[in-house]
């Protein structure tokens, strides 16, 4: 045990005394390596490292630090607050809507803008109202706004004049009207012909131009191919409440044989299933005709 103790003591002493020697030895080794390396390859361009001072005790370094750094003077006790706000960037500019209202070419108006959502009688719908009825009204108003928004112009938020009539027409058509109320029904024939001809020539011109320029347009409907006409004749619109069959003329509904046949359907021929001769002949005749 004593020997061990002695050894330990000696080693401890040695480590204390020869720190600098160890450092020198390490540098020597480095040098040897470097020489060996440079013998084989090119000499290295090593930046000169300033001689590092041997590390001193903690207490000493603390004292040194306090001596060197004199950033905070003794009078300043509190924390110094430096506020940097980029005032220019954060400038409360006008909102886009405000800017639009103010920077138009028109003199700015300070009237509150009228709400777009209105119910049928023109009254405002309260925004906070959550009742079912109010929601339905809002739905309707929104639907109308979406479908008629193209008619609204920038000057007013309500429909007026010609646009109001257009919107009304659209609503009537959406409810199932056959034609537009704006279409002029009666007109001198020459006018009508002129209008039709003009329409046709415009369309032709458009198509020709598109063709010349290599633009592909939608498929031509109506007039040229007559497809639409065929379709129309195949399924005639009979209107609401009118009989779905026959021809109503002069207060009487006339049913052709064909109509009757279509209602009755093909006769199960008596002869075949042996149901007796009742109507068999007729059935046969009908079949013959069909």
């Amino acid at each position: 045990m004593p020997t061990l103790l002695g050894k330990r003591k000696r080693r401890a002493v040695a480590s204390n005394n020869t720190e600098a020697e160890d450092l020198a030895a390490a540098q020597m080794a480095q040098e040897i390596f470097q020489r060996h390396f440079e013998a084989q390859f090119k000499p290295l361009a090593i930046p000169k490292i300033p001689e590092s001072a041997p590390i001193e005790d903690d207490e000493d370094s603390k004292e040194e630090e306090e001596l060197e750094w004199d950033g905070i003077s003794e009078e300043e006790e509190g924390v110094k607050v430096v506020e940097h706000t980029d005032a220019y960037a954060r400038m409360a500019a006008m909102s886009k809507q405000q800017l639009k209202a103010f920077m138009t070419s028109k003199p700015p108006t300070n009237k509150p803008s009228t709400p777009i959502i209105r119910d049928d009688v023109g009254g405002k719908i309260d925004a906070d109202d959550v009742s079912e009825a109010a929601n339905l009204k809002k739905d309707l108003a929104l639907q109308r706004l979406i479908s008629e928004s193209h008619l609204l112009d920038s000057s007013s938020h309500t429909l007026s004049g010609k646009n109001r009539h257009k919107a009304l027409d659209m609503r009537i058509q959406a409810l199932g009207s056959k034609g537009s109320i704006l279409r002029q029904e009666k007109m001198p024939m020459s006018h009508r012909k002129g209008i039709e001809a003009k329409k046709k020539s415009d369309e032709e011109k458009r198509r020709n131009e598109a063709k010349e320029n290599g633009v592909i347009l939608e498929r031509a409907t109506g007039t040229k191919t007559g497809k639409v006409k065929k379709e129309l004749s195949r399924k005639r619109d009979r209107g609401v409440g009118a009989p779905g069959i026959g021809q109503f003329k002069g207060g009487t509904l006339k049913l052709s044989k064909r109509d009757i046949f279509e209602v009755e359907g093909p006769k199960r021929s008596a002869g075949k299933n042996g149901r007796g001769g009742r109507g068999g002949g007729r059935g046969g005749r009908g079949r013959g005709r069909g």
């Binding site: 005032a87 400038m91 103010f102």
Partner: protein
């Protein structure tokens, strides 16, 4: 020199020339103005005055102006105010007014009197100011910017029953005053589409209320757009502690190009009208009461944008301190419309410093000379603001083209 024709009303000097010309046109009384800059080294009418006469000629029918040889005297016989009609000085229902590059006044000097005439025209008045003399910004002569005309003067028309929905001032190209304060390269379109039979009179004799919000436009042409922000920053710094609602829009434009005037290259262009400025408008809690201020950088330069912003904010505060319901900028418009309007007595509350200017008193004298009834002035006794209530009786000149038989 022969004795002046008795049918002409005689005036001297070039002061308030536009007011006299429009009053002459409205009342249909010919005028004779003499001694125009007769003692100056550049005697006679200045380029902007000639341009204004030309403009009057193009929107009226049958007006005639004859000048003396030196230009120090002229006769003006007014015609009917027609507006912009094709074939009578207008193309495509737009009258073109080209201003030469020697003009030192801002385009607002033309716009304000033109707007007073416009409600009495037969057809809408659409005038396009172009050419090398259009300065849209404020000038050192004291002309306001186009933005102030739009945001502070045009709204006054609403009170007279003239719908502002059809009024438009479109600034297609901004420009500050060019080198030496002369010329610019701006393009401005005025559309005045509301013509009335007879403007209603005005009753603005109550308290002008308190300033509720401040709006404005900071503009710069041909200089860094950071100037806008610098002006706004300083102006807001002054105004924000007083009113919370301060919003100023920014407008940046490239410098306008005008022909360089170089003999060798005809197509050569040069930039002009470089500068920046700010226009502020304070809106009161009372409907229709507006205070405005306008400052622009001088054409020689050397002023920082911070100074311009500060100056404008202080100018606005000064205008507000003068009180009244209409400021100096708007008095001519309001008082002339009241005098020409319906045969009622209108009342207008004005600040003492606004009434006491040469312009206002001169306008009263001119109106009297043209046959309008004289003003009544009395102090406001409701409060100790020291304002004056001006009562003006209209003479119902109205719109000749819209007379109902």
């Amino acid at each position: 020199m022969s004795a002046p024709d008795p049918k002409f009303l005689s005036f001297t000097s070039q002061k308030s020339l536009t007011a006299r010309l429009i009053l002459s046109t409205l009342t249909g009384k010919p005028i004779r103005v003499s001694q125009i800059r007769s003692t100056s080294t550049t005697p006679g009418l200045a380029p902007h005055e000639v341009s204004f006469l030309r403009l009057l000629d193009s929107i009226t029918n049958g007006s005639r102006a004859t000048f003396s040889h030196t230009g120090t005297m002229f006769h003006y016989e007014p015609g009917l105010i027609m507006g912009s009609i094709d074939g009578q000085g207008a193309i495509g229902e737009v009258t073109d007014c080209s201003l030469p590059n020697t003009i030192t006044r801002g385009v607002s000097w033309f716009l304000t009197p033109l707007c007073i005439l416009a409600p009495f025209a037969k057809k809408p008045v659409n005038v396009r100011f172009s050419g090398e003399g259009v300065i849209t910004g404020a000038t050192e002569c004291g002309d306001v910017s186009v933005d102030t005309v739009r945001t502070a003067i045009l709204p006054l028309y609403e009170k007279f029953g003239i719908s502002t929905a059809k009024l438009e001032i479109r600034v297609l190209q901004r420009s500050c005053a060019g080198p030496g304060g002369k010329g610019g390269g701006g393009v401005v379109e005025l559309k005045f589409g509301s013509q009335v039979r007879l403007p209603k009179t005005l009753h603005l004799h109550r308290s002008p209320g308190r300033v509720r919000r401040i709006r404005g436009v900071a503009y710069c042409t041909g200089v860094s757009s950071s100037n806008n922000h610098r002006m706004i920053h300083v102006a807001r710094g002054i105004l924000n502690p007083l009113v919370a609602d301060v919003h100023i829009a920014t407008q940046y434009d490239q410098a306008p190009l005008v022909s360089s005037g170089d003999k060798n290259s005809k197509s050569g262009k040069k930039t002009t009208g470089i500068g920046f400025g700010i226009s502020l408008v304070a809106e009161s809690s009372v409907d229709g009461v507006l205070y405005s201020a306008d400052v622009a950088s001088p054409s020689r330069g050397g002023v920082t944008s911070e100074d311009i912003g500060k100056q404008c904010a202080y100018q606005l505060l000064e205008v507000i301190s003068q009180g009244g319901c209409v400021t100096k900028v708007g008095t001519e418009t309001v008082l002339v419309l009241m005098a020409m309007g319906s045969e009622d007595v209108g009342r207008l509350r004005l600040g003492r410093d606004v009434v006491g200017t040469e312009d206002a008193i001169g306008l009263a004298r001119d109106l009297q000379k043209f046959g309008a009834s004289s003003w009544g002035l009395r102090d406001v006794d409701e409060d100790d603001s020291g304002d004056i209530i001006v009562t003006v009786k209209g003479i119902a000149v109205g719109n000749v083209a819209r007379k109902i038989a």
